[in-house]
Amino acid sequence: MTLLDAVIFLPLVAFFFILLIPKDNLDSIRRFSLVASTAVFLASLGLIAPYWFANPGKFVFETDLPWINSPAIRYHVAIDGISLWLVLLTTLLTPLCVLVSWRSVQKRVKEFFAFLLLLEFGLIGVFCALDFFLFYVFWEVSLVPMYFLIGIWGHERRIYAAVKFFLYTFAASMLMLVAIIYIYNQAGTFDYSRILAGLQNGSIAPTYQEQLLLFLAFFIAFAVKVPIFPLHTWLPDAHVEAPTAGSVMLASVMLKMGTYGLLRFCVPMFPAAARNCSGWIVALAIIGIIYGALVAMVQPNMKKLVAYSSVSHLGFVVLGIFSFTQQGFDGAVYQMLNHGVSTGALFLIVGFLYDRRHSLEISAYGGVATPAPAIATVFMITMLASMGLPMLNGFVSEFLVLQGTALVDFRWAVFAALGSILAACYMLWLYQRVFFGKASAEVSGLKDLLPREYVISIPLIILMVWMGTFPQSFIPSISTSTAVILGPVDAKRDVHVRNALPVKPAAPGASLAKEIADAR
């Protein structure tokens, strides 16, 4: 039993504990959830240790136990530099979600916090599972609590949104289940490492056509979750109708399940198919970036605006992955974390505003900066981070993705950069309409940040600045792990310099980690 097992199962234990607390004892339920989720977070900090002192570049905290003997299904979990940070993102945001729901959730309190912890269990599991069956179990298990969170505690159209969310993801993951079983029948194992090794050394040799179909089956399941245009239509509904904590977990962590799946499973297992499909996938990613930004610009509803901005930001992640360059991969993973932090923060602050004014319409606000300068400041920093302003986190990852993309095809980078410009437009315009201008009678009475809300905002603000100014705390560990995945699919292997423009060629074999280490 390793620390990782404890981090995975603590939320589940806490879930059962909450079920035992009498349902009228609201304060003990809230306090217990906070203590439990904070304990999980503190425990998960210990997971950084191997990466802090050395940089293993392989899976650590590995546990591999038999679960079901026939078919051979194992409880196999471990983390590398990619999953480590996603696990930490999950464990950090859960206590913050508990805090933000402290007063805003007033009905069925016990069930709410129980589902939140069950969700944490599922999400952590998804990022650690190295057995396909186990992965699928966590993937589906995380669906159920989110469905309830949206459906019970959401806004007016919550039932429609919850069912749509569930059916979209469930239908797509059925294709993944077929693919997983198909691979098992060829490989005789569900173990990710063994399947990957088998595919790479040719002992499992599906024909190219099979590879392509398997790739597409996985891809569609992940693409719905990301979501990649045109499979995104569930997302605005789910985000808008979910309660604040639901939106935060959905945007910050659940969408990453899709991009994580693409990077962990789709690309390394079926490199040929991935390379051959990259053309239209990149096109979809760029459409997503620009379309998401344009649609975000015209939204009258704050949550919907942030939701569409997620479509745009996640487009960068997909773009980075399908550029098949070291910079693109690193940027993609870093963008996942940055989006988690800054969009999570945006949803939290929108939640603060909703708690006060009980409206998500932008037109209901205006001049909020006058009564609530602290909210305005926090929102300002978060918004700038989300836009990709230098010194804040979004910049680093968007830059890396654009750099990686430009190495392959400069035109892609140009189109994608358009998205960054549009992001500035919709964010600044949102800020102007909500915070500036003359405060109306309803708005001028708004309270500023409460102590509880300071506790929620400050860690995220610190992270935004830290991740923006000091990316070398994070990127080397990401880079060593992405380099392992990149090896067989590296774009440099067959990229001819197609660009007329003078692009600085990447030194062969030099990973970004090295560059940063040299710079130090």
């Binding site: 003997n69 239908a171 294709l175 077929v178 079983i181």
Partner: protein, 489 residues
């Protein structure tokens, strides 16, 4: 072939579960006029005792497997599996019935006697090794079930259900019997092994193949009717909706499992060698069953009818396993039927509890806010529904997973993909019940709900435990199913 007509003690031991159930059933019929009406509750206890004794006998018989009564019956792992399953279904049915019967003022002994007879018939089906025994078992089981479907004889819907079930059922049985006659005429035997050897040896002769194929087709009609597989599923929604709720609970699990047992045994043993001929029919029937079941269930407002269509859809999944025609396919079908029995009994037990006198509340909308009025019941119901959807960590998921694994093993790719997409469609109508329970405010129908009766509570706990254990530790059952799935030695 010298035939010894005097049965030995071993023969009786292997047949003991059926004997116990018939004896207890007859005893109950005899005792009823003797006991006063205030002692009625003794019957359900007596029935339970009978079932438990039969269960023990069935498990014990498996220690000494083999044929009995001149090879007419056979006790093997497969038979034991289904015997235990149908007796288990009988036990849970008794537990969920007693309160319902008192409520409807129909607490009579014949209900329990019929239940015992029906289950004993299903046990005969599970052990039958030749076609006449299969037919006898099927008739014992069916006739008792026809009467049970119309048990509340003053109720119009009960009468309609029983009449429909009886007329269509007899028609289907006639097909089966006709098929038996054809194959007897062709092969000169009703023993499954003998038919198999005849078909393997005589595969060169075209005429016997045509005759055997016709027989297989006729028998397929009979079995498909009993398992409610398309295109012979039309009766199921009306009968399931009309019959008393605990009888529906019973019908959807027990007779269906036993019918699948004989279906699998006949088609893998006797007709195993002409597999390429019947596989396309099972294939298309499986797909059609899933599609009809799932899409028809989408628009239902009555929960019993919705679960009836869902039960058709689930028969379709099991047909996929049959179509795979492999050892793991048989094991998958066995596992799925067990998981299905648990989750479906659980769901119908909630319906039985909720419907109240005269089955007033059987619309999905009536369940509004049940999640907040009776959180325990609703949570258990959610487990059953999520298992029916096929969410991991439930028996329903692992069963489905194993069925489609068997199908992909047998290269049935399109059937697997279409089947799994079907289960995404199914998610919609199961989720609708969860939506109503948790996302709508309580109405009159939920507010006036009385607490769970001890019998139904026990059923629900047992079913939930079974569903979760089969989902989290499937090896416990799967290993036995895999070992017993070798029907052809």
């Amino acid at each position: 072939m010298p035939v010894n007509f005097a049965p030995s003690a071993t023969d009786y031991l292997r047949f003991l579960p059926e004997i116990i159930m018939i004896v207890v059933g007859t005893l109950i019929m005899v005792l009823e006029p003797l006991l006063g009406s205030n002692k009625r509750s003794a019957f359900s206890s007596l029935t339970l005792l009978g079932f438990i004794a039969a269960l023990v006998a069935a498990v014990a018989a498996n220690n000494d497997p083999g044929a009995s009564f001149s090879n007419m019956l056979i006790v093997d792992g497969f038979a034991t599996f289904f015997r235990v399953l149908v007796i288990g279904v009988g036990i849970l049915t008794v537990l969920s019935s007693s309160q319902y019967l008192r409520r409807e003022h129909a607490d009579a002994a014949e209900y329990y006697a019929l239940l015992l007879f029906s289950v004993s018939g299903q046990c005969v089906m599970a052990t039958a090794n030749e076609l006449i025994m299969i037919f006898i078992g099927l008739e014992i089981s069916s006739i008792a079930t026809y009467i049970l479907a119309g048990y509340l004889r003053d109720d119009k819907r009960n009468n309609e259900a029983a009449l429909k079930y009886f007329l269509l059922g007899s028609f289907a049985t006639a097909f089966l019997l006709y098929g038996i006659a054809w194959i007897y005429g062709t092969a000169g035997s009703t023993n499954l092994e003998d038919i198999r050897h005849f078909l393997i040896a005589g595969s060169g002769s075209g005429r016997s193949l045509v005759l055997a194929g016709t027989a297989a087709a006729l028998m397929f009609v009979g079995f498909a009717f009993k398992v409610s597989a398309a295109p012979f599923q039309i009766w199921a929604p009306d009968v399931y909706q009309g019959a008393p709720a605990p009888v529906t609970l019973f019908m959807s699990a027990g007779p269906k499992a036993a019918a699948f047992a004989v279906f699998i045994r006949v088609f893998t043993t006797a007709f195993g060698s002409i597999e390429t001929r019947w596989e396309p029919f099972v294939w298309s029937s499986a797909l059609l069953t899933m599609v009809i079941g799932n899409f028809a269930a989408l628009t239902q407002t009555n929960i019993k009818r919705m679960l009836a269509y869902s039960s058709i859809a689930h028969a379709g999944y099991v047909m996929v396993a049959v179509a795979a025609h492999s050892q793991i396919g048989v094991a998958a079908a066995m596992f799925y039927l067990a998981a299905y029995a648990f989750m479906n009994i659980g769901a119908f037990a909630v319906v039985t509890h909720f419907s109240r006198q005269g089955e007033k509340f059987v619309n999905i909308e009536d369940l509004s806010g049940l999640g907040w009025k009776q959180p325990g019941t609703a949570a258990l119901f959610s487990i059953f529904l999520l298992s029916l959807v096929g969410i991991p960590l439930t028996g329903g998921f692992f069963g489905k997973f194993y069925i489609f694994k068997a199908a992909l093993d047998a290269n049935l790719r399109w059937l697997s993909i279409l089947g799994l997409l079907n289960s995404a469609v199914a998610a919609y109508y199961y989720l609708r019940v969860i939506v109503v329970m948790y996302m709508q405010e309580p109405t009159d129908s939920t507010v006036t709900l009385e607490p769970l009766s001890p019998g139904i509570r026990t059923t629900l706990y047992a079913a939930a435990l079974g569903t979760l254990i089969l989902g989290i530790f499937p090896s416990l059952l799967l290993n036995f199913a895999t070992r017993s799935s070798v029907l052809v030695k």
